[in-house]
């Protein structure tokens, strides 16, 4: 009995052991559940997935409200490898039109990326392909479609200007928190320069997922979700009709047309030729087409209007005339003789036959080389300046105030600055202080080292049209419903030449068209002012250049036309510019014969 008693007391030992474990466990639970917060974070990381909701990208219209770019739904075929069950691969490949080996490599690529996370199996099926495949897709668990949008272009034009979108690259991913791999971003043109406006703002929904990454529902009924903000529509300053007409005229030619509304700086048309159909760089065919285009000997991807620089030839005489007038080395009545050119020592600058001597207006009208060589020397060697260098730098400063030799800071991407050589350049070339006005005399007639882009040429026409100032050229007129644009586009940029002198040059330009080298541009309805030019081309036939604006008073359009390898400026550039002006101002073409010959001309 004593034994019994003592053994019965052992229950307390046993109960104590039970309770000891109980206490250890409670302590552990206190630690896990009450003290350590890291588990809550881990649980959230496990289960919460932020899904980006893409807003529709803004549309692009032309200045008259014609739609230039819109969005079209496309479908990416996604796969979550772990959810894929055995299936008939032959049938599957047949459905997708895929060779079996390719299927295998695509699938293992997705598997290697992550067996549990979704990855793009095949990109960008069209709506038709999508509806065909989607019907049968239920047979293949683990595969599903995700819709994206692609840009579409109802008119195959202005490819360079509109630009294109593509997946973000690593450099963007490194510098921006906004984009994730696979996101689209504007890569060139308007798409790039107005990316932030067009893209809107991504929304975010927080979803809960299970261990296989399957979406199970929204977190707290979307309490923390943000709505996407749609991209804003853009109104481009382009005139779609004019643009299309310009591209038609430039068919089978190399060169460019840039047309600007002088009073606003709005770009009406910007043609570079050869170009391409913007729809080629969209969707699944893009990579393939891009390679083809970039290997094309005609360089259709090269935007000549912004990136090609030419010696401006005789069109530059306008600038030299204005600079001379401003500096007082020229007067309207200043006359120089021409001996079939300009001849000093061994230097000969040829000129064509014409009456001599000439005053300034007539010198512009007949584009006398000798006159402008003499005027240039008078400018650079003027006694006002202590040295050739000072004379040149004064000249250069005035020239650059026309928006030449520097970026215009438009809203177009890949715009080049052209080149107005610095004094230092000549120091290097000829040796310090070892050059004089004669060494750089080719600048007098717009040849030599000088380089100007077609956009800058059009802007030069715009400057003269405005009699002394320009508004920074731009391609977007309005963003969304707001009319206010970047204020820099409303700012008048004055040249360093007084307005009064521009009237003299404008009169001379009128004379060029009415009775001079560009008489083929003459119109009965309005007065066109213009100037031809021929850019010397060491590699082949010279480039034909024409800049113009019209009407003379209250100009509506300023234009530059460059046709490469077309020879003398008047032959090709003048009629094409005049057709563009006519098309824009009156909306109809009175000279169908000229139009036809221009369209049909093949110039390489």
């Amino acid at each position: 009995m004593i034994l019994k008693q003592s053994l019965s007391g052992r229950r307390f030992v046993i109960i104590s052991i039970f309770l000891a474990i109980g206490i250890i466990y409670v302590t552990r639970l206190i630690y896990l559940q009450l003290i350590d917060d890291s588990f809550i974070i881990s649980a959230n990381r496990n289960v919460l997935r932020e899904l980006t909701v893409y807003p529709p990208r803004g549309l692009i219209y032309d200045r008259n409200g014609k739609l230039l770019t819109y969005n079209e739904a496309i479908y990416d075929l996604m796969v979550i490898p772990k959810q894929v069950r055995d299936f008939d691969t032959i049938e599957f490949c047949k459905m997708l039109n895929l060779p079996k080996e390719e299927f295998k490599s695509m699938f293992s690529k997705a598997y290697n990326y992550s067996p549990y996370k979704a990855s793009v199996f095949e990109k960008q099926y069209s709506k038709e392909e999508y509806s065909f495949i989607e019907e049968k897709l239920y047979k293949y668990p683990g595969f599903y479609f995700q819709s994206r949008t692609l840009r579409k272009y109802p008119y195959p034009m202005a490819a360079h200007t509109l630009g294109y979108i593509g997946e973000v690259d690593n450099s963007v991913l490194d510098s921006s928190h906004y984009y994730k791999p696979g996101d689209y971003i504007g890569i060139s043109g308007i798409e790039k320069s107005y990316e932030e406006v067009l893209r809107g703002k991504n929304g975010c929904t927080i979803m809960m997922v299970d261990n296989l990454n399957r979406v199970k529902g929204s977190f707290r009924d979307g309490l923390f979700d943000t709505m996407p903000i749609p991209g804003q529509n853009l109104y481009s300053s382009l005139d779609a009709d004019l643009q299309a007409y310009g591209e038609l005229l430039m068919k089978n030619k190399r060169g460019s047309i840039v047309a600007i509304e002088p009073s606003t700086g709005e770009i009406l048309s910007i043609v570079t030729s050869p170009s391409y159909d913007p729809n080629l760089l969209v969707g699944r065919v893009r990579t393939q087409n891009y390679v083809k285009l970039s290997e094309d000997a005609d360089k259709p991807l090269f935007n000549r209007a912004l990136m090609a620089k030419y010696p401006p030839g005789s069109t530059f005489k306008l600038v030299n005339a204005l600079v001379g007038l401003q500096e007082g080395v020229l007067k309207t009545a200043t006359a120089f003789s021409c001996e079939r050119g300009f001849h000093v020592g061994k230097l000969n600058v040829e000129c064509h036959p014409h009456p001599s001597p000439l005053d300034l207006m007539h010198a512009i009208a007949v584009s006398c080389n000798a006159y402008f060589c003499k005027a240039f020397r008078a400018m650079i060697d003027s006694r006002k300046f202590h040295s050739v260098r000072e004379g040149y730098e004064t000249w250069r400063k005035l020239v650059m105030s026309f928006g030449l030799g520097e970026h215009l800071n438009t809203d177009l991407t890949s715009e080049l600055r052209g080149n107005i050589p610095s004094a230092n350049f000549y120091d290097k070339y000829h040796g310090k202080n070892r050059w004089k006005s004669l060494s750089i005399i080719s600048l007098a007639i717009g040849q030599g080292e000088i380089g100007i882009t077609p956009l800058q040429l059009a802007n030069l026409a715009s400057v003269i049209a405005n009699r002394g100032y320009y508004l920074t050229p731009h391609i977007v007129k309005a963003i969304g419903n707001k009319k206010n644009l970047n204020p820099k586009f409303l700012d008048k940029k004055k040249t360093l030449v007084d307005a009064a002198y521009f009237n003299i040059v404008a009169d001379a330009m009128l004379m060029v068209v009415e009775a001079g080298t560009a008489s083929s541009a003459k119109s009965d309805e309005y007065k066109i002012c213009g100037k031809t030019g021929t850019a010397q081309n060491p590699h082949g036939k010279n480039h034909s250049i024409f800049i113009a604006f019209a009407p003379k008073d209250n100009p509506k359009i300023a234009i530059s036309v460059v046709i490469e390898n077309a020879g003398f400026g008047a032959t090709w550039a003048v009629p094409i510019a005049s057709l563009m002006i006519e098309k824009y101002i009156s909306g109809k073409i009175t000279r169908p014969d000229v139009e036809e010959s221009m369209i049909n001309a093949k110039i390489y």
Partner: protein
């Protein structure tokens, strides 16, 4: 006890529902789901319970060896004709439903031990009694080990508590507990350090007991025994199967592999830890509902409770279990028949082991050993077996005055 049982079973059912809950299967009565099936198990368990309460309690004493024998045969049979589920060949397939004889082995062995040890002429102090007791336990353990169900086999070690109550020397209990501590210590810390500590402790003890030769020799003997044990653990561990080794390594924090073996425990800890004080609310557990925690309706059911009901919920459940264990022990003590008392202690021991190991593994204090949480985990065999065990005891207690 009946009330505690009903509460626990209900908690189990509700949380199994929460564990398998999904938008597609909203009904708790969906019999395609574990929650629906568990209801069937619960109802049939209640039927079993009722039956047990109605029949003559003496029958268990009488047929204890028969039940033991039949069970042993089944245990062996299952090795040959059983169905293999997750590496253990311990299931009899009956249509869609599996029956695990190992679950009932606990009951059968408890009965047999109670029968054997309650015999008047049997004293546990006798060596022969020890041998027979050992054999009674060892036979089913061996069979279960052959079924490759280590978890269930380990459960039988808990019977040491019952044996201790029935007169087994306290030293053996201490030795057993020490061995568990040593086991973890050896694996967690370098064996030489453990050995060093043991040596220092032993030297101190020897210094104090140097006068008493007998205790001195015992101490020295114990020291060498412990050292030997440490070496054998180390040796055994290095010869363990790879997956078992990893599980233990993960538990000890020696190896952190969150994607593979550590995944279960880690996700389980996240589930319980993210429950906080009050939990995420019924059916709002993200860890368990979205399958981050494996086997959440069976072995990891405690996660669901910890996550959805928080500290409050897990404390409540732990409290209920503690209450049940203490209640069983107390009730066992008041039995007049030693059969009932022994059986009661066996029941408490086995329940204790299950609870300790199951909850311990979910909170990362024990290696992952696949044994269910009594009354709560999903599973017919386990629920039936535990119900039967508990209600046999309840019946014994209710008729204790008639039994001797």
């Amino acid at each position: 006890m009946v009330t505690l049982y009903l509460i626990l079973v209900t908690i189990g059912w509700v949380n199994i529902y929460a564990a398998v809950y999904s938008e597609e299967h909203k009904s708790i009565l969906d019999f395609g789901q574990n929650s629906g099936k568990q209801l069937i198990w619960i109802l049939s368990s209640l039927l079993i319970a009722l039956t047990l309460l109605l029949i003559d309690p003496k029958i268990f004493n009488t047929f204890a060896y028969v039940i033991y024998g039949v069970n042993l045969v089944l245990l062996i049979l299952v090795i040959f004709v059983g169905r293999e589920i997750s590496g253990s060949k311990s299931w009899f397939g009956v249509g869609d439903v599996g029956i695990q004889p190992a679950e009932f082995a606990k009951l059968a062995t408890s009965l047999a031990l109670a029968r054997y040890l309650s015999a008047i002429d049997v004293k546990i102090q006798n060596s022969s009694t020890k041998v027979y007791t050992f054999i009674l336990i060892a036979l089913p353990v061996l069979a279960i080990l052959l079924e490759n169900d280590t978890g269930s086999a380990l459960v039988f070690t808990a019977l040491i508590f019952m044996l201790y109550r029935e007169g087994l020397s306290g030293n053996i209990l201490i030795l057993g507990l020490m061995m568990v501590v040593m086991f973890f210590a050896t694996l967690m810390i370098d064996k030489l350090i453990v050995l060093g500590i043991i040596t220092i402790v032993a030297l101190i003890i020897i210094w104090f007991v140097r006068k008493n030769r007998k205790i001195l020799w015992i101490s020295i003997g114990l020291f060498f025994l412990t050292a030997g044990f440490i070496y054998s653990v180390d040796y055994a561990f290095s010869h363990l199967e790879e997956h078992q080794k990893t599980r233990i390594d993960v538990l000890l924090g020696k190896q952190v592999d969150l994607k593979k073996a550590g995944y279960n425990v880690n996700q389980s800890k996240i589930a319980i830890g993210s429950g906080g004080f009050a939990g995420k609310g019924f059916l709002n557990g993200t860890q368990t509902k979205y399958n981050f925690v494996p086997e959440q309706s069976t072995d990891f059911i405690f996660c669901t409770i910890g996550e959805e009901w928080g500290f409050v919920g897990s404390l409540t459940l732990l409290g209920l279990f503690m209450g049940l264990l203490i209640r069983i022990v107390t009730v066992a003590e008041r039995q007049r028949s030693s059969f009932s008392r022994i059986y009661g202690y066996a029941l408490a021991s086995i329940l204790f082991f299950h609870i300790t190991v199951n909850i311990g593994m979910t909170i990362g204090l024990f290696p992952v050993i696949g044994i269910p949480l009594p009354f709560v985990s999903y599973g017919g065999s386990s629920l039936w077996a535990f119900t039967t065990m508990l209600f046999i005891f309840i019946k014994q207690d209710s008729s204790r005055l008639n039994l001797l």
